[in-house]
Symmetry: C2
Subunit: 306 residues, 2 copies
């Protein structure tokens, strides 16, 4: 099998690299924590990080690289302006920026921005993953939970709209920097499913009461600690329930609907449990395979250029 390109998913805190053939078969793979935040400070900067990993895989000197993610942000390697919704992999390929001033051909895919819906929104990296999912021709709703959860509408290979919810970011800020820091132990080992499920319901059913309900976590801990056995699970459930209420407000009724869920590990388990709690169907998808497919589709278009 002949190596066709290197594909990189280069986010804020992580770096993943694959050598692939024209059909997408993996010929080599590297992963590290050298995300946008640290790569700029490494020897040789972004180029140094990339070349070291390519050398480790024995990649040819003229192998082109196609990357997506925060590496294309203003604070990244080479700013790649957002393209607008609706977008497909051809749009991403057309908006790719070739990194200037280096010998190797490195293309960074653009993020996607939205100016037409109720709220302005942006993403960088998730668009490539979403467009690598096989969601078919019908309108699909996909959830990518995280620090900034993305909910994306995709239909027939077109990303048509999305909304970002800062659920994970808010969890960390509340757990670490509000009155709730006195309630949430950093070393909580067990995860109380009942507390989480009940909080998901509360956050979903009464979103308006969230800032009152947050104080109740603290007050219950003072008055009747047994009634609040796992404040971290409660906080997580409340914020995920709130997110789901927001998604319903933005994208319509969720109960009984089948929603794509692109996540791994603890986060995947937590969202799957939240979905079950609210009778939302989950179609779990492999995010890594998806981003590779999205990168490959864009690479095939870009590298066909004369």
């Amino acid at each position: 099998m002949r190596v066709f390109a290197a594909l990189a998913d280069w986010g804020t805190t992580s770096f993943r690299l694959w050598l692939v053939d024209r059909g997408g078969a993996i010929l080599g793979e590297r992963r590290s924590g050298e995300g946008m935040t640290t790569a700029a400070g490494e020897p040789g900067g972004f180029a140094g990080v990339l070349e070291r990993h390519l050398a480790a895989l024995g990649a040819p000197a003229d192998l082109p690289v196609v990357a997506c993610g925060m590496v294309g942000a203003r604070q990244g390697w080479a700013e790649t302006p957002y393209v607008e919704t609706p977008a497909d992999t051809a749009t991403l390929a057309a908006g790719a920026v070739a990194v200037p001033g280096i010998a190797r051909r490195v293309f960074i895919l653009p993020g996607v921005c939205q100016r037409q819906a109720r709220f302005f929104d942006v993403m960088r990296g998730e668009e490539t993953q979403i467009l690598g999912l096989d969601t078919g021709r019908a309108r699909a709703l996909v959830c990518m939970p995280g620090t900034h959860s993305k909910w994306v509408v995709v239909a027939d290979g077109q990303l048509t709209g999305f909304a970002t919810f800062i659920t994970g970011d808010l969890f960390a800020a509340i757990a670490g920097h509000t009155i709730l820091k006195h309630s949430i132990a950093a070393d909580q080992l067990d995860f109380d499913k009942d507390a989480f499920v009940s909080a998901v319901r509360a956050g979903f059913e009464r979103p308006a009461e969230i800032t009152n309900r947050l104080f109740a976590v603290r007050a219950t801990g003072l008055l009747d600690p047994a009634a609040e056995p796992d404040p971290a699970a409660t906080l997580s459930g409340l914020l995920i329930g709130l997110e789901l209420a927001g998604v319903e407000s933005r994208f319509g009724h969720l109960e009984g609907r089948a929603v794509g869920l692109v996540a791994a590990g603890k986060l995947a388990a937590r969202y799957a449990l939240a979905f079950r709690t609210l009778a939302i169907g989950a179609i779990e998808a492999d995010g890594e395979a998806a981003v590779r497919r999205g990168l490959l589709a864009a690479a095939s278009t870009i590298l066909k250029r004369p």
Copy 2:
């Protein structure tokens, strides 16, 4: 006029002391930043702080002191267990704790807790202020905005229920410790009223979308900075609007209702503007006079004891 007692409003970060006669006329007054957080570390601890201020006013050695606020918390001077709702000034007087091991008679009034309503809740200090308001016999709703905004129902001198919203706490955590920290300038001088008013409406009308709307503050700043002229005002408006949506969910329809507003300075102006935006009537009250009246009422009961 003969001095009857010293009254102290002793919170987390502030200390206020008044010498009063039996009718509540002020014979001397002191204020400082020696709240619960710092008083414990001062020479002589809480007693040292109190005696220095009493000495500065020439208070007699046998003058009794009645205090309220966080000084009665577990981390305070002498823990004073919460009394339960419903509570009036007689309940506060009955629950007062005499500080042990000192020559002077110092009584700390209890906070109030709530176990009967939808959420457990607690307050320390606000109960004394609320019960010092002249709200008449009818059921009144009173707003005390702040780090932890208290909304209190009082009827005929009885505090019957309340709810805490961590609005100010959340503002600081979001502005300082989430993606929004890149949008919010610490030295913003002008306050954009239009941005605030529009955000109050958005937070109130679509509370479920709050975590999405928060990301939009950042995304709008990236895509069209002119459309988000004052991110701090927007964040403040969103969270106050969200609080008001929660209050409506807990205590019923707000439009056209007259609500007591106990606040000062910038916070009072901001809540008054939010009230006007949503056609809520504001009856502004003097919080300092109220806490003195509440303390005096409790002191009159306590000091009548044989």
